[in-house]
């Protein structure tokens, strides 16, 4: 355990910091600046990261600003209809080129020296190109810095800075099978509502990703207030309490550091689905036959999605929220959250999904408030000299993971930390790479 007590001569001993198979992960991962800086390189500049949903860029010229790690990125639909993404920084002196959250523009003129970029990233205007640059600056070489690869899955647009990264389809791997239960429920796919919830959380970003990837264990106690309040005042059936206290679920680890908590809806009413708003429950019943046609019986009538993360920092719930955990140093992140719905759903259903999802999950959310309190104080209480020398315990269910025969991936019990262990294995693999 010497490695846990300090630096190795030539860097970190990653195998000692992350003993994922044994369920021990050093708290140094959550508090140390040097590790964080390496994450920006080895994780955020390597992995496929979620940028936005194609429904947010319906028209040519539409753009949206976001981040990949701490790098500002602008995603735009060119006049040719193609969606591209670029480092949001002028090639001349680095000034942010797009200074709005979203909008529509044919071109972006840098406010510093007026270099102008078309909405496909090409540099199309340089003041004094003839007299100051003698016509010698090759504009073709100085367009906005593009991401290395951009692709979409079920309307979700991802990009990576790594030209050698596997394709998005390979990166998501078997997670696609489970993501379809959220974003590909009906032939029309999914869409996002307008607006973005954005707020700041003083915690390490991994605590949030690790909660969404596999932590159903916290729900009965962390969310005890929201569950009880909703049953007391908001006409949820008393028996739905069981659906959240001891739900019929399993944790699915499809590999790649991704994971999802899945309801076994064919095994009775004790699932989080019993907690749904009556309008949404009726809607889900009404589309069940179509879903069986579209996705097959397993994903329509036997399983239902509850919580999930795509490695590293994209998470979503079956009930509507999806979000990115933007890292802002080892002890801080920004949460950018949206709500998805079926594009083909009736307006009344969409409205209920939006209102119910954000009532539970957003900065004011009945459930979310208590999550943030935990992640914040987990980080703060691990910062000290003694605290950071302790591991976090991820031993729940070690040795009890099972390879599934009928479905892709491995499974653990409802209360199991199989997915967190998979998440940190993947983290270690990337961080220990040369």
């Amino acid at each position: 355990m010497a490695a846990q007590n300090g630096h190795q001569p030539n860097g970190y001993n990653w195998d000692a910091l992350v003993q994922a198979e044994e369920g021990l992960v050093s708290r140094r991962l959550f508090v140390e600046e040097e590790i964080y800086q390496r994450e920006l390189e080895k994780i955020f500049a390597k992995c496929w990261l979620f940028l936005c949903h194609e429904s947010q860029l319906p028209r040519p010229g539409d753009f949206i600003s976001t981040y990949m790690g701490e790098d500002p990125v602008v995603v735009m639909r060119g006049k040719d209809g193609v969606i591209r993404a670029f480092l949001n920084s002028c090639r001349h002196r680095g000034m942010r080129v797009c200074r709005a959250d979203a909008g529509n523009a044919a071109a972006f003129t840098c406010a510093y020296h007026a270099w102008t970029y078309a909405n496909d990233g090409r540099l199309i205007g340089v003041p004094n190109h003839q007299d100051a640059y003698y016509g010698e600056l090759d504009k073709d070489q100085w367009g906005l810095v593009p991401v290395a690869q951009l692709d979409q899955y079920a309307g979700l647009i991802f990009a990576t800075w790594d030209p050698a990264a596997p394709s998005l389809a390979d990166y998501l791997g078997d997670m696609k099978y489970y993501m379809d239960m959220v974003f590909n429920r009906r032939p029309g796919g999914s869409e996002l509502f307008g607006g973005t919830h954005k707020w700041t959380m003083p915690c390490n970003w991994k605590l949030a990703a690790d909660n969404f990837v596999g932590d159903m264990y916290h729900a009965p106690f962390s969310h005890g207030s929201a569950i009880r309040a909703r049953i007391a005042t908001l006409e949820r059936p008393e028996e739905s309490l069981r659906g959240l206290m001891q739900p019929q679920m399993m944790q699915v680890n499809p590999g790649g550091g991704h994971g999802m908590g899945v309801s076994l809806i064919d095994q009775g009413a004790n699932t989080p689905q019993a907690f749904q708003h009556p309008v949404l429950r009726a809607y889900n019943e009404s589309i069940r036959a179509e879903m069986e046609q579209h996705l097959g019986v397993e994903r329509a009538s036997q399983l239902a999605p509850v919580h999930a993360s795509v490695f590293p920092n994209f998470s979503f719930l079956g009930s509507g929220t999806l979000r990115v955990w933007h890292p802002r140093g080892p002890g801080r992140m920004e949460i950018w959250a949206w709500v998805w719905c079926d594009k083909d759903a009736p307006q009344e259903v969409k409205d209920v999904q939006r209102v119910q999802s954000q009532y539970n999950f957003n900065a004011s959310g009945m459930f979310e408030q208590d999550d943030g309190e935990n992640w914040n104080q987990c980080t703060v209480a691990s910062r000290g000299y003694v605290g950071r020398r302790q591991p976090f315990n991820y031993q729940m269910g070690v040795g009890h993971d099972e390879r599934m025969e009928q479905l892709p991936g491995w499974k653990g019990a409802n209360f199991a930390e199989i997915n967190q262990r998979g998440f940190y294995q993947r983290w270690r693999e990337l961080m220990s790479a040369e």
Binding site: A100, D101, K198, W199, T233, L234
Partner: protein, 170 residues
């Protein structure tokens, strides 16, 4: 300002101050009594837009909002605080609400439209401190000689909220 208008403004201000005090003193059940059954309590998101696109600065009805509550949903929030398990508010926030720049925009039948600025200091735990600054557009309705709140739109200045949650009321 006519005497009638001055009296009305003073009555409105005193109502709003009393409401703010109920919240600062955590008298949430009394606070819930101040709303009409059809209350819409709404805090849209505020995005960062260029001048030529300011119409899209605030999220619209039907889009995302930090609060988009009916009376039933507000009651749910108070019920949550009553459970003894609302960890984000236990220990509770220590709040001081300052209301200012109160103006009556219109009097229509039994309703008064009020615009005001607010500054809420929220302290919590050892060193947490948030300042929530923004404006409100309230619709107050005459009920039994007093006022009830029939509509509330809350707008914060921040794009990315610097607070870790919105666990208090506005």
């Amino acid at each position: 300002m006519t005497t009638v208008a001055a009296d009305l403004l003073r009555e409105v201000e005193q109502f709003l101050y009393a409401e703010a005090r109920l919240l600062d003193e955590r008298r949430f059940h009394e606070w819930l009594e101040l709303f009409t059954p059809d209350i819409h309590y709404w805090m849209p998101t505020r995005s960062n837009r260029m001048l030529n696109d300011l119409d899209n600065e605030l999220s619209k009805p039907g889009e995302l909002a930090y609060f988009d509550d009916t009376l039933l949903m507000l009651r749910g929030r108070v019920a949550r605080l009553d459970t003894g398990m609302a960890w984000a508010e236990d220990p509770p926030s220590r709040t001081q609400r300052l209301l200012t720049n109160v103006q009556i925009d219109a009097v229509e039948g039994d309703e008064v439209k009020v615009h005001l600025g607010f500054l809420i200091q929220r302290c919590r735990n050892e060193t947490e401190e948030d300042l929530f600054i923004g404006y409100r557009d309230d619709v107050l309705r005459r009920v039994d000689g007093g006022f009830k709140i029939a509509k509330r739109k809350i707008v914060l200045g921040q794009n990315v909220l610097s607070a870790k949650n919105l666990s208090i009321f506005f």
